[in-house]
Amino acid sequence: MKYIEEFRDRALAVKLAESIQTEARAGQGRVYRFMEFCGGHTHAIFRFGIPDLLPPEIKLVHGPGCPVCVLPMARIDAAIQIAQIPDVVLCTYGDMMRVPGGKRLSLMKAKAAGADVRMITSPSEAVTLAQNNPHKQIVFFAIGFETTTPPTAVVLKQARALGLKNFSVFCNHVLTPPALAWLLESGKDQSADVPELDGFIGPSHVSAIIGTKPYEIAATAYGKPVVIAGFEPLDVMQSILMLLRQVNSGQAKVENEYARAVTREGNVKAQVLMREVLTLRDSFEWRGLGWLPHSGLRLNDAFSDMDAEQRFSFNVEDVRENRACQCPAILRGAKEPADCPLFGKACTPDNPIGSCMVSSEGSCAAWYSYGRGRQGN
């Protein structure tokens, strides 16, 4: 873990900030809008106070890459309904517990009312629970982008090998490239409520799995530069500088700032593993982005007996989001947390109204926790 310090060095940061400033000034007053796709980057940006080090010409636009944030309410309601079935134990990552579904019920509240919901930090805990509780139905509430998908695939194979009949997965895994494609396409459309961007800070951990190749279309078909960046603050600053240089020299290509972990092809083994167990859905709903074709995963036919959607029935109504909550627009990059009238007032991390205030990777939570856009205490 020695390397962490190295990437947070102040002297290096000052140097990078100077280079960014010089490069941005060369634009003679133009504004550069770069989207950090990943919530992990959003979090790092505020955690380390990076906006303080950037010139006003640079606008960072927060993207939809926060798995907790983009999950639509209907899926949360479905998870709550599954958890309420007698003898079901629903296992979930901590953040998901607090996300409000329709009627503002959350898994945490359902748990307090008697549903058996367990917080886990790794999906293998769910398998162990299934082994130890043969008379209970253990359901793993799987969410996340390509980073968290391989572990889900691993536990499915493990459960199969163990012959577990009481284990299933409620699969909500989503894919990065379709969301990026949607942003690029909508950004071209003047009437769509999506900003035109000058470039992307590409995901780090996701790219370690899928490689840099899937982003090439952004450069070739849409003329937008992409720089894959690590999650360390200096990685983020370096990637901003690389994006600026591309824009100023009229280039658009995929560059890899995070070469210490990311290759063009990605982790082929993990990709194969995912394909063994999971398959593309025709379409999946994203909060703020709507239904995107081929953007989500489900268990494939060979594993459908472990698909919680097949094993349990649930019946979710069409739910309306709180109309004042700007999460959908924030996830598209069209608005900022401060544009929401509820931010820091009715909506805080202790009492979240929208999903963006729940996960530490959510824009509203990151703004609030690190003091951006806040007036009083």
């Binding site: 947070r8 106070g49 080090l53 607090r98 917080m119 790794s122 690190y370």
Partner: protein
Amino acid sequence: MTLLQEKPLNIPQGRIDMTHGSGGRASARLIEQVFASVFDNPALAESNDQARLTLPEPGMRLAFSSDSFVIFPLFFPGGDIGSLAVHGTVNDVAMAGAKPLWLSAGFIIEEGFPLSDLDRIARSMAAAAHNCGVSIVTGDTKVVEKGKADGLYINTAGIGAFRAELDLSAKRVQAGDAILLSGPIGDHGIAILAHREKMSFAEPLLSDSAPLNGLVEHMLASGVDIHALRDPTRGGLATTLNEIAKTAEVGMRLEESAIPIRESVRGACELLGLDPLYIANEGRLIAFCPQAQADKLLQAMRAHDKGSEAAIIGSVVPDARHWIEMRTPLGGSRIVDWLNGEPLPRIC
């Protein structure tokens, strides 16, 4: 029944059953053989419904505190629920500048709990109490049906005494004070989480669970006008500083690079997605004193083994919003908020 009472408990193989909490012979036998035998002190030996105590000096003021311990797992690297229950309350009492003297111990035990574990925990409490110079003078044992508790919960309350002229209180913290921290943060919470996650590190990660009364005595002896002491347990350094800022109606400015954090704790936090500022500590304290005396206090802390890695981490400023602002290692700034509703697992 008489025969039963005389028979020693089968500590290696036995388990707690409902009779051990009934208040009858089985309870008496448990208390005698597991607790009283190791907590042994004159007040307890009187076997009354209460402990009768005498202040070391007349005119002293008392500090009184209580804490419940529901940590899981019961045994963890660097301690167990027993030693933690002693240290936790001893430290709360010591933060008033008081000398901790007496503890009570209440046990809520789940039916079926192994006697050997209970024995091990009682011995660990006795050793910890001895180490801190306190006596466990009164207690209580209850047994609940299987499934109604998770193994064992312990409540301890503690009383300490301090000279009446001493005034350590969050209310005395004021703009111009320096903020000192006695050692690296996050060791306890991360040791527990890492243990549960079966994570392993180059240097083994231990809880910092330890008594701080010795360090406090040493700090008071330095003659520095200490305004307040606090041990940043649940909610971590960040939450504790926010509590004090609110009580004292001040703001604080921290220097992130000055806050000591072990490499392994930092690494584990990266992996688990946690911020060490919010992780519980069980053997650290924060001190506030006038800026001009900060170096003197720092030297005093460093001269004691529980404060050898102490550091000055920031200062108190006037701020009507009561914000804790921190300069990041990069030179940017952020606020350090209260712990926000995260459902962290039971770590104390």
